[in-house]
Amino acid sequence: MNNQTPRQERILKIFTPVRCMNRDQLLRYQRGQMTAVEKHLIEQHMVDCDLCHHALLALENPKNHEPYDRLSQQLSLFIQREYAPAPKQQKQQVRPARQVMSRESLLSYFWVIMFIVIGGGSVFLLQQHLKNRPAFPLLPARAAEALVIPPAPQPAAAVSAAPPEEKKTTPVIQTHYGNRDTVQRRVAALSAKDSAQLKKKPAKDTVRKSTPDSNARVALKAPQPPVAKDTPKPKTEKLAVNTTPIQQEQPPAKETEEEKKAEEAPRPAPPVSGEEAMYRAAMQLKQQGDVNGAINQLKKLSGNNRYEERVKYQLAILYRNKGQNGKARRLLKDVVKMDGNLKAQAQAELSNMN
């Protein structure tokens, strides 16, 4: 017996839990094939376990041995079959869940990609729109930045024959196309002297007048090679005479020289600006015979340094035409004092007036 252990160890066995008998232990206890220690351990357990005690009592009857073996095996198989995991069913249950998860993840990826594409596209379109939006809202700012004074004032009639750099300024130039009739009317209203001068060069005018609008537009649209500075000006450049006073009595040769000088001056690409448009509108009014309107338009530009010389010159011409020779003379003197491109013309006008 296990009596060698101290009393404290043995007294704890009163309440030491012992497991129920397994199949082997049950049969061995029934057959008396246990050691004394093991048998006493089973008896300790049987004191408290009704199940094991009644199982042993039932197996004391030899009739129950055979049904016990058969039924215990059958019940064990039944339990294993009934409570065994069903791998096929579990796989079938798991697969749809995985498919649903994959679909949801694919959908989420798709919408994320679509959001990125739409967002990027909208940003790109906005940038393109800001780059290529029309220049009208920016006109005042650009006029202040890139306003370049052309070397000589050119009338509307001469604009159609202007070099291609000027023709690029389509918004302003197109306004002159409709003025061809006014130019013709103005030419018809010229004095006899002017008409005589014009008769000396009928071919030049006819060439210019026969030019249809469509041709001019095509010429405006089509890129033209830049005109060399020293190359002789075409016949249409003679129309630049109109920039000078209308009733000019100067010989044409002198005018052409002055104009050549003016033409020889470097012409930067004139950007379309509000001030330039105002100046051209004033010239247009002048050609239409609206002297007061042209004066008012030019007075608006009088504060601009770049246009001051031309404005004063044109104002002097207009005042002279109007009969206010005093104002005209004073303005022409101012132009001479400025010592600009129009100094020679102003002196000539002054000498004519005197």
Partner: protein, 186 residues
Amino acid sequence: MHLLLNNLNDKELLLRIRKLQDREAAGVLLDRYSHLLVATSLPRLGPENAAEEAFPALVRQLFTRLQSSYGKVSDTIYEMVQYYFHKGNKNPLPYPPSSPTAIQRLENRVDLAGNNPIEKDTIASRLEEGLNTLQPEERQLVTRFYLEHQSLQELARAQHTTTDKIRNHLRQIRKKLATHLMDQRL
């Protein structure tokens, strides 16, 4: 998985059944006690209670019962067998006690003491004090059975009684001792 579950004790399997609704753990636990269930039920089987109907029904009821069971599995199975064969299905099965009994608490404490000598000494000294409160006959029977390791048959032969009576007597003494120690707040 089945082999791993076989290595778990009854408490761990019951925990898996309760918390995880693990049918496989329930199968392992029921298979562990199936031979005792058959042996206990054998004297009660007959033409009215055929084995082909009684055991599957018992197993299903046991599975339902184990999902809310906290006590010993052997006690639960014995109660279920008693209920099924004696009272039938007319009256509902009483609920198991929600709190462990005094014997179960003491057994748990001894089990948890393990190799802790201080705890073991404390419990042993309390048990000595509890044994001193027993009657001399009871203390002698406990001493012979648990300390001197005499078998039930030897004790029955010495007292000229049956082993069942010795067992019932020991059981009563054990219960009395556990209740006394619980009252002493062991």
